[in-house]
Symmetry: C2
């Protein structure tokens, strides 16, 4: 059943006229995220409470209308693109930090709270929520849970899944479910709150979350280390971890990434074939000095060409800003080319980073496509971004062929097609291949939780056919 005016009026009654839109400009805007895809929803609704979400879901359920929950739209794989139309449930107005219980080590938030806003509030109490995604300034915690997002600090501090004590979600039929606890421990039945992590809107609409708090170390320092090759850089990271020394973060950039940043941002980085920025943290100066020294020694043993340790927050901020600007800088690297999210987020065992990068480079040469490699190398999470002439079908065809091989290489190395961005559309086929023994269980659970298949339908385990359709770029064959 299509979305007729009577249903729209029901939505307006629930959330108010201001929070329902069918304006073409609005539908267009909510038709894409940061991925390569686009498809308009039929209506955009901005609920302000769990109860409103429940009322909306009851109508959607009764009428078989697809519903796609959406955070800030910073996702890179199309999970928030309403590929079958229907309702876009935009969560940004549910943005309250409900309660911080310092003495109980938890915080209750609504799904639309922005990650950096939450951390600004937690910092007042000496705590933080560590995952640190690249989109920290914009992304919402509900989207982080839905994609099990992480970022720079996962090797030491874990991903979003490790901080979810409990959450509230609305089922397909409108039932409100509170799962998990506000206690540190929980052995009461199935870990539904953890199951919702990474479910990408396919099992329910997450409306509120209880995160566990953790203390922020008082001191940190970094070292910028240059190498003659990405392979050397990767070997150095494994050697640091095997000490064992688990860094707070360790960011990698290849020559294409470095070149792009230096060109776009006025040379903030030294010229090198590969760079890593290793961050160490701890409670005292003594610890970070000790750990910086270990990092320096290992780097020299592992053929670093230069090692620059720093305790200066300004210097470290310059390095980190440069690293964070890779994605934006890449699009300016080559006139006529755009930077697109294809094969953007492979995770491999840490020690396989060098081999993975070598294989990715061989594959991109084979298909004659330009790929930059960067990412969170201390947890084996490699981002590759491709530069394509986005109007050219042949470029997309070569690109997607390269991507398929990159994914297969990652899985062969014991890795996964997505470490932190999620499956969505762009990784769906390779995800299905990677997780073939899990697929029956995934589909059975999806069917059990969403029998009418209205929650973000057609994505991930349900995707069929080529990932090259509904592109938001002007390539007429694939739009």
């Amino acid at each position: 059943m299509a979305l007729d005016q009577k249903i729209i009026e029901e939505f307006e009654r629930i959330v108010g006229k201001d929070n329902v839109s069918t304006s073409p400009a609005v539908l267009y805007t909510y038709g894409f995220d940061a991925s390569i895809y686009h498809n308009d929803p039929e209506v955009v609704i901005q609920p302000t409470s769990t109860e409103q979400v429940s009322e909306i879901m009851k109508i959607a359920y009764a009428n078989g209308i697809p519903v796609v929950p959406r955070g800030a739209g910073t996702g890179l794989c199309g999970a928030a693109v309403p590929i079958e139309g229907g309702i876009c449930l935009a969560m940004q107005k549910m943005n309250r930090i409900l309660e911080i219980s310092v003495k109980d080590l938890w915080v209750d938030v609504e799904a639309g709270v922005v990650y950096n806003d939450l951390n600004a509030e937690l910092a007042k109490h000496g705590f933080f929520f560590p995952p640190s995604p690249g989109s920290a300034e914009a992304c919402q915690v509900g989207g982080m849970v839905a994609t099990n997002a992480s970022g720079m600090r996962a090797v030491k501090y874990g991903a979003t899944r490790d901080y979810v004590l409990g959450l509230t979600f609305v089922r397909a039929n409108g039932d409100i479910v509170r799962c998990g606890t506000r206690t540190i421990k929980d052995a009461s039945g199935y870990q539904l709150a953890r199951l919702m992590c990474g479910s990408e809107g396919t099992l329910g609409v997450i409306t509120e979350i209880t995160f566990k708090l953790t203390t922020k170390p008082k001191k940190s320092a970094s070292a910028l280390i240059a190498f003659n090759s990405v392979v050397d850089a990767g070997k150095c990271i494994s050697a640091i971890i095997a000490k064992p020394l688990i860094p707070a973060s360790c960011e990698l950039m290849d020559s294409t990434s470095i070149e792009a940043v230096n060109k776009a941002r006025g040379n903030p980085l030294p010229d090198a074939n590969a760079l890593i920025i290793v961050e160490v943290d701890g409670e005292t100066d003594e610890i970070i000095q000790r750990d910086l020294k270990i990092v320096e020694e290992v780097a020299k043993e592992q053929n670093a060409t230069t090692v620059t340790p720093s305790l200066d927050p300004k210097v470290i901020a310059k390095w980190n800003d440069a690293r964070k600007s890779v994605l934006a800088s890449l699009s300016a690297l080559k006139p006529g080319y755009s930077c697109v999210s294809l094969a953007d987020d492979m995770g491999v065992p840490i020690s396989k980073v060098p081999e993975a990068v070598e294989r990715f480079q061989a594959i991109t040469r084979k298909y004659n496509v330009i790929v930059a490699v960067y990412g969170h190398a201390s947890d084996g999470n490699l981002h590759t971004k491709m530069l394509l002439k986005v109007g050219d079908k042949d470029e997309w065809d070569r690109g997607i062929a390269a991507v398929d091989e990159i994914f297969k290489a990652s899985v062969e190395l014991g890795g996964t097609v997505t470490g932190e961005h999620g499956v969505g559309i762009s990784k769906a086929l390779n995800f299905q291949e990677e997780r073939k023994t899990e697929l029956d269980c995934i589909l059975a659970i999806k069917q059990a939780m969403d029998p009418k298949n209205i929650l973000n339908p057609g994505k991930a385990a349900q995707w069929r056919g080529s990932p090259l359709r509904n592109l938001r770029y002007p390539c007429k064959e694939y739009m």
Copy 2:
């Protein structure tokens, strides 16, 4: 269909005659765990590989035979008791540490590996698997995953669920599923490996697990602190955490626990109405000295009667041994009484520990039962053990009435009926009440994963009727 000789012979063909037993003595032994329940299985099978488990499950599935996986049988709630007979799948022969990949931060183990054995091996490389359950010397990691077990270190290091990167399980129909990854990050689809944590054998048979490794801090120290009341002790713990200072562990004992230990073990503890043992850890002496000083200051502000900090491993070991002996000591406290696991494992928000203990004490006075309170107070996890004349129906009736109120009080305080032991039988009814909004989802997932209901059937969400039946104690009305 019952277990006839032909089926037994099929099992013998799969695992060898030595690994199949229908001897009454063996069946009796495997008919109970450390809970209050007993029911014989019809056969005990000890598989030695995932493939064998798969073959066994295919036969069980075809014939509708109940299957209960079992680790070391240290569980306290009856999760491993084969309440509907059938097959006991005893995992102790799958006890190999398959691979430790230090540079990739993971270890692959079979489900039957003993917790302490794993940590002994990890310690050689500077790593550890932190959860530290009370049954560390015996319990198996498969059981720990199946119950999402934890112990003393959860407030700082999390529970078992936080260390499971991936695992292999066998479905009801015999299909072998490998879920999760061997990478630090994983955003690929549903977190099935986390869903299996706490599933207590109802969704599949866990055969192999990949745990994340973490480094063990180089230094630790403890303080033994005495109070005039458990309420004062509880307030002190909250005040330490609110500093913020997250201790490595913080164990609480009430006067009954202290008395029991001192009587059974020759007075290792000072006489007090309540004691806490606070452990701090870190990388340097400076840090642990700093943190010990904070603990000492807070304790004095919070009306501690004595504070004894110590860096001496022998002194600390004496305190910890005394704490660990509470359960064993309680049974010797009062002639004619046994210590039984009733309401043994409530989790409350940390700041609610004082109120919880006060309410538990009021309830036990009301029902005239003897209860000792101890546990992992820094994560709000309280163990209460009851002393009962186990042959006396009236004692059980008063006990179970008190337990019901203790559970309800815990949930009213924002807590859960089980923090680390699991639901099994003894907490099933109160769990169903606590998780009433989750229950439909739990049953739908159970149905999706185990359509013939052969995996540990009748437990937790499926339990109906009184928890007082199939007792392993000589109380004829409830045996």
